[in-house]
Subunit: 215 residues, 2 copies
DNA sequence: AACAAGAGTGTACAGCTGTACACAAACAGG
DNA sequence: CCTGTTTGTGTACAGCTGTACACTCTTGTT
């Protein structure tokens, strides 16, 4: 019973890879057509329907894959047990390596975050939020910054994720011939994260100047 | 000679507005078709060519418009001469107000930053970079943070712009019925920028721990 | 060995796509 | 007033789009 089942999964994979390949070549996911995806996957257009009801569903499947990748990334980063003194630099390096290793998925992620269907946007934002949350939990268990309130920790996690993930597109858009800029981006990002944590260290709880105008 | 010329500009505007309207309704710019844009603008498809060679050119025109808007935004913010104590909160408010006032353009900006044609991406990144640069210049002339090096100031500007502009999509994606979340986003963003400036205040020039591995 | 399930194929069609061509109407400058 | 320019129209067409239908295999189950 495995053989046939595996075969099905295989073409399903081929379809997803085809979509990713096209995205990787510069096309936007929302401008793809079922037909060219199918052709790229080496199947006839109609075969597409045996796996997905349409491109939207394929997109959601890819979103799930991103969630998986992010979780995996977080887990192995955790296993590495980074040294405290080089933790920031190592984490940034690790993220950048991952981006450069799965460019298609990250490109899809970046695209869908601002331009996908509402469902896809939400799915990916959820994954990123999850990612931020775990990071904050780690920070907390490491007894760093433990004097921040829960809301402020969330705020911090959100800020770090935003900063790092904004590097994604920048990295993927580097022309092939100017790859030397990678280290420049790396240095800048490390500085940025370090600056953020300096700020977090000097963060004085919601003492003075709380409620501003409430919109 | 004005009449005919103005008329031409008018339909050109109609075409651009039509594209923006479609984007605002949830479609991605790269999935628009010349025909529906023309129809939306109230002209026959062929008339499109009297103004643009294709959708790419229209997109670049819209990018220019974003540049204009950002420059304008920066200028009026400067004229306001914000008070030092509430400067951060006021700036965030000002930006958010602008986003909510021209949602279509900002949506287009957010989309094109990650998903447009290479030319469009570059154009918009350039505008944002310009924006960051001016901000840094302002900070410098205000004699704040004058002990940072030029590179570090760039890094700081980039970080602030990234943080604030990442709010754009979040803001535009709010479901109509949960607009109360706006103030939540506002509070968080203000905190984030404030934290960044705390970090910048505690920033110790490139003293120790400089060169990391060079990729 | 016979059968049912289902993955993939081939054909078909209506609708949309960009764009080429010839034309109409409006306006400018002479 | 008339004549050349230029904006917008109508028609046309070849190519692509999603998807419906009937089909052939291959495979797992009885």
């Amino acid at each position: 019973m495995t053989t046939k089942f595996e075969k099905k999964l295989k073409t399903r994979r081929a379809l997803m890879d085809a979509a990713l390949a096209l995205v990787s070549e510069g096309k936007h996911y929302s401008s793809l057509s079922l037909r060219v995806v199918a052709k790229r996957a080496g199947v006839v257009p109609n075969a597409f329907y045996r796996h997905f009801t349409g491109l939207d569903e394929l997109g959601l499947a890819l979103s799930d894959e991103i969630g998986l990748l992010l979780r995996q990334l977080m887990r192995t980063a955790r296993l590495k047990g980074l040294a405290a003194d080089s933790m920031i630099a190592d984490s940034v390096d690790f993220y950048m390596d991952n981006v450069r290793e799965s460019p298609a998925l990250f490109r899809f992620m970046a695209q869908s975050l601002t331009g996908g269907s509402p469902a896809m946007r939400q799915a990916i934002r959820l994954e990123l939020g999850h990612f931020a949350k775990e990071m904050v939990m780690d920070l907390n268990s490491l007894r760093v910054l433990s004097d921040m309130s829960a809301v402020d920790l969330d705020m911090l996690g959100h800020l770090v994720i935003t900063t790092v993930s904004s590097v994604t597109t920048e990295l993927l858009d580097l022309p092939e011939d100017r790859e030397n800029l990678v280290s420049e981006i790396r240095e800048r990002t490390i500085k940025q994260v370090r600056l953020i944590f300096i700020g977090a260290g000097g963060w004085d709880k919601p003492s003075k100047k709380k409620r501003g105008k409430k919109s």
